[in-house]
């Protein structure tokens, strides 16, 4: 099997999960697709000659890095948008206008009873990004704590903390669906 074929098989096995991971983080399909495509290209161009056993950790590390870059850009964009909107919005002092929309964090009010998966997606999307990624990489992607810490570029104890907090929040959010 050629290197290109092995790489293609690896990407085929991980692309859908990577896409969902990015989609949970960005809540945007197009951005998630761009991030995954970028991560695929980066792995292929820079690390294809590495040992195949290292590809998974490298791929998710690249993916995390791309998501982080997206979040930084998003943060700047949102700040600018808020600044200009604030400057132009005459109702900015209206307390009702300032009230945050928390419906995404309350799946029981948003989805029908019994739709565990819809509730799960809403609860996962509402998690802080680090908790979300630690949880998904550990539970879903099956990375061990060390690999997750390497992918997230944080300590192993941070991974454990993020995971435990995420699980607790999900447990609370999904209590309704039990």
């Amino acid at each position: 099997m050629t290197e290109g074929a092995r790489l293609s098989a690896f990407l085929a096995a991980h692309e859908a999960r990577a896409f969902r991971l990015a989609q949970f983080a960005t809540r945007n399909r197009e951005d998630a697709l761009d991030i995954v495509q970028d991560a695929m290209l980066s792995l292929a161009r820079n690390y294809a000659d590495r040992d195949e056993a290292t590809w998974r950790a490298l791929f998710y590390r690249i993916l995390e890095s791309r998501i982080r870059d997206w979040q930084r850009r998003s943060w700047v964009r949102n700040r600018l948008r808020q600044f200009f909107a604030h400057a132009e919005d005459p109702d900015r002092d209206d307390p009702l206008e300032q009230q945050a929309d928390t419906s995404a964090a309350q799946p029981d009010t948003q989805v029908a009873a019994g739709e565990f998966r819809a509730g799960l997606e809403a609860a996962l999307s509402a998690l802080p990004w680090r908790q979300q990624q630690a949880f998904l990489l550990r539970l879903w992607e099956g990375l061990d704590i060390r690999a997750t810490a390497a992918a997230m570029q944080c300590s192993e104890s941070s991974v454990k903390t993020h995971y435990a907090r995420a699980l607790e929040k999900l447990r609370q959010a999904l209590e309704y669906h039990r």
């Binding site: 692309e15 999960r17 495509q37 879903w140 999900l170």
Partner: protein, 104 residues
Amino acid sequence: MSDDLETRIRHALEHSLHELDADTRRRLAAARAHAASPPAPSLRWWWLPAATLPLALIAIMLWPQASPPPDPSLLLETVLEEDADPDLLLTFDLLLAEDADETS
């Protein structure tokens, strides 16, 4: 309870993979094919052979003209071919004598 919840979550997430829409799958497959294909030969240096000749010409034109100092004897021969002025001949004689002194 957490173990049960984790299992349910894992199953739900796995199930969600099968429900990705066709367009998303198609675009992921296209991205994969693009990434796994060998990179096209780089065109970064295509201009190098074409630029060699003009660069060489410019270099030759700008090269400092390090011509050797004129040989006084050759100058004298040139002068002798013309209608020589005796004063000029004397000047050249002196010039040759000085040159001989310097070389010795």
